[in-house]
Each structure stands twice: as structure tokens, then as C-alpha cells.
Subunit: 233 residues, 2 copies
DNA sequence: CCCACCAATTAGGTCTACCGAAATTACCAA
DNA sequence: TTGGTAATTTCGGTAGACCTAATTGGTGGG
């Protein structure tokens, strides 16, 4: 059995990586809230494990090996299944489930994860809209998503994902009706990174809200219907 | 937050203790599967914690303080709620839930435990018949229980608890219909610690089984109806 | 009343995962 | 080509929890 620390590092590397570029020591340190020196040490250990979990070149970052990625996906699968289960089966709010899952992901057995997946009907997305890897390690691919801050007035979209980093933000946007599957339309977008006014349908009533940049940038959507104004950057 | 090790020691002390006698170092060592030296070291630490968790006198064993007992009960509550939840909500078999709960008990938050208790209807006993402490730390008291090996031929009883130490045994006795609430009657008891023949009602059909001492001693019952033969030891 | 024996403790060491400070490396820019 | 700088790594240490081996303490049998 791998330690929690190892699982956390693999997960961090997986979620940070963008394309095939190696991931930097400092990015991992920041993500995990540890000192860069600790990361270097751990990366050396991961690169030396019997089944090599990462490809590591000093001063050039790391990449997961196939083995490492497999484990990262298992941890992520557990995390997201737990999140969804806590919400669906136990009625916990979506701003609580992430931190709970952060601890549970390491101790949930494979058979327990399978039971949850079964009960939930082998779901593809967690409460925040993040994809849940299948048992075989395949990530469901949704449509390409746009950040809400990049929409222009008049555009209509469906909320697909809300970044789960900040529980406060989650609670706030949920109170506005901004959760995955919700429909919204951009009414107005103030210049100079000003607030974005969006109209959201909540219980048959449309309400408009002004979202600051900080909040809007956490929301990802897919466009729907007619795309009015192509964005001039 | 207390470490898992601390929680495990407190739980062990609580479950080992009998009456008000101090618990011995070696008993704890055996229960936790660690060396006695490790226990001594940990007991000193527990006795020195800001809120004292145990009363410890060198060479004379330990006792939990009120604080220590409170924490032990919380851990046990989490453990048993998890066990029951895994069985009820996820259909896991009763021989699997203990080891799963062993890991989950340390990472389940208070609010998650409360949600489970709520969903389960504030249950008083776990799948093996062990009492689940209330949130305020009260242990439900059932009837006084007898070990199955002490019953005499002709006596009828209800199974109340099966010791959860050995999953194999759990699986075996469950296959015989011996689970909490099941009714049974002792048919015959071979001398010299020989097998005990019991009749168990399973799905309207009565079947009799011969249980060895090892197995029977794990089963606890409460007598029902007329007590025929008082036991001559 | 003493001693031997067993339980318990002390002493010294390992392993994991952290840290801060000091040294090193990569890389860009003049 | 040569710095300078920021990112990384090395180095020496800490804390927790465990171990083995050696020692000490309590106590029941003689």
C-alpha cells in the first residue's frame, strides 16, 4: 500500500499537468502546501520506486509514468465518487464534500468504491462537474468548456463545472443558482475586468447577478443555441 | 486533531478495560499488534498531553481520564456507525465492514457521522450487535448477555452479538443463520468442550448445526422463554 | 524474607515526511 | 560570453511512531 503522501503527490502531478509538459517542483509544492525541498526529496523517492511512478530529471520537472498515472486516476476516482456519494446519499452540501473526500480518498477500498459507483449508477461527473475516471482509468470527456469570464453579452450557456478550490465561492455561487446544468445568459460585461452580469433561471424565476472576476473565473460553461457576438478578444 | 495512533490507543484501552481496573501495557500491545516498548512510550505521551487523556503509573497500567474516554467513545461511535452504514446503505457484508471501518473511523468528520446516524435513524447497535455510543457519549445498554458456550441443552435464546474479530468466523456463522436477532435452541452439548448442537430457524426451516468451541464462544445471546435446566457449571 | 522471573521500561536506532538555510543550476539578457 | 536571478537541490534537523536489546521493578514461591 502506498502512503497518503505518495498518493497526494501523484494526484497533484496529474491535476497540474497540462499537455505533455513536465510539472515543476514549485507548482507541486504550492499545490500541496509544502516546501519545495520536500517535493524534490519526494520526487527522487517516486522515481526510485520498484515500479517507477514518475519520470524525473533534476531541474527539469516530473512526468507520471503509466504506472503513476494509473494510481493517480484511482485516487481521483475515489475522491470524486466519494464527493458525489456524500452529496447524493447523505445530503451533504457541495462545498463540504471536497475536504471530506480529501481524507476519505486514501482509505476507501476498491470494493467500497465499486459499491458507491454501483449505487450511484456509474456516474461520469462529480458535484462540481469534474469527470470521474472509470474503473479502467478512462476519463469521461465532456464538451469543450469555456470560462465564464470569456463569454460576451447575449451569449447563453449551460454551467458545466465550478472549480471546487474554495468552499466559500461554492456556497456563494450555489446560492445564486449557479451549479452544473443551470442555464445562464450574459447580460452585460463591464470593461477593465469589471463584473459580469448574468441572468440565471432559478425555480422558474430569472434573476440577474453581478459576478466579480474572482468568482466568474471559477465557472466553466458550454455554449448553447445561437452564438451572437464573436469575441473580439 | 489527534493522530490515528492516539485514537487507536484510546480505543484499545477503552475496549480492553474491564470494570475500573487499570489496563496493562502488554494487553494494549497485543491488541494493537505493536511492541510493548512502543506502548510504554505512547502512554507517557498520552499522560503528558495538554488535556490529560490517561492516568498512567509506571508498572501499574493506565486508565482513561474523562477526556480520554470521551475521545474513545467518539472513535467507537464513528467506527460502528460506519459499519452499519456500509452494510445498510451499500450492501457490504458484515465480515467486510469492520476492517473498512477501521480505516474510515479516523477520517470521518463529526458532521459526516451525524449524517450517517440521521440516515440510519440513530441506531443503537452495529451489524455485529455492538452498541453504538450516542453523540453525547452514552452507550446503549442491552440485556445482559450469555456466551453461547454456557447454554445448556433445551435452552432457547436470541442471538444478540457476534464477536467481529475474525471475518472467517463471521462469514461462517452467518451462513448458518446465526446473526443478531436470530432465534436458536441448544439441542445437545458434547462433554469435554465438545461441539454444541444448535437448532436455528432460517427461512421457516429449522436446521441444526454442530458448533465447535472456537466458534460458539464468539456468539452471545439472551435467553428467551422458559429456562429449563439451570447450569451445573 | 529473599530471589527469580516476567512484565515493563529505558536506551538507542529506523523510517517517513516534513522544514529552513545554503549551495547549485538553468536560462535569459545585455 | 558573462552575469544575475529565480528555481531547484543539497544538507542537516525535527517530529511521530515504530522496533530490538538491555535493564529494572514487582511480586509470588520457597
Amino acid at each position: 500500500m502506498l502512503s497518503e503522501a505518495v498518493e497526494d503527490y501523484l494526484k497533484a502531478i496529474y491535476t497540474i499537468k497540462d499537455g505533455t509538459n513536465p510539472v515543476s517542483t514549485s507548482a507541486i509544492a504550492q499545490r500541496l502546501g509544502v516546501a519545495p525541498a520536500s517535493v524534490t526529496q519526494m520526487l527522487k523517492k517516486l522515481a526510485d520506486m520498484k515500479p517507477r511512478l514518475v519520470e524525473y530529471r533534476r531541474h527539469h520537472g516530473v512526468q507520471l509514468t503509466a504506472n503513476g498515472e494509473k494510481i493517480a486516476l484511482e485516487v481521483i476516482r475515489h475522491h470524486r465518487l466519494v464527493e458525489l456519494f456524500l452529496q447524493e446519499a447523505l445530503g451533504m452540501s457541495w462545498d463540504q464534500v471536497d475536504q471530506e473526500a480529501e481524507r476519505l480518498e486514501h482509505v476507501v477500498s476498491e470494493t467500497l468504491a465499486d459499491r458507491m459507483a454501483e449505487v450511484l449508477g456509474h456516474p461520469e461527473f462529480d458535484p462540481h462537474g469534474d469527470p470521474i475516471p472509470s474503473k479502467s482509468g478512462d476519463m469521461p470527456v465532456g464538451e469543450a468548456l469555456l470560462n465564464l469570464v470569456h463569454l460576451n453579452p447575449g451569449q447563453e450557456a449551460i454551467v458545466r463545472r465550478v472549480c471546487d478550490d474554495d468552499p466559500e465561492v461554492l456556497r456563494y455561487v450555489a446560492s445564486l443558482g449557479i451549479i452544473p446544468k443551470a442555464a445562464l445568459r450574459v447580460i452585460e460585461k463591464a470593461p477593465f475586468d469589471g463584473p459580469i452580469h448574468v441572468e440565471v433561471a432559478v425555480a422558474d424565476v430569472n434573476a440577474t447577478h453581478a459576478l466579480g472576476q474572482r468568482v466568474a473565473s471559477q465557472v466553466f460553461v458550454s455554449l448553447v443555441g445561437n452564438v451572437d457576438l464573436p469575441s473580439p478578444t
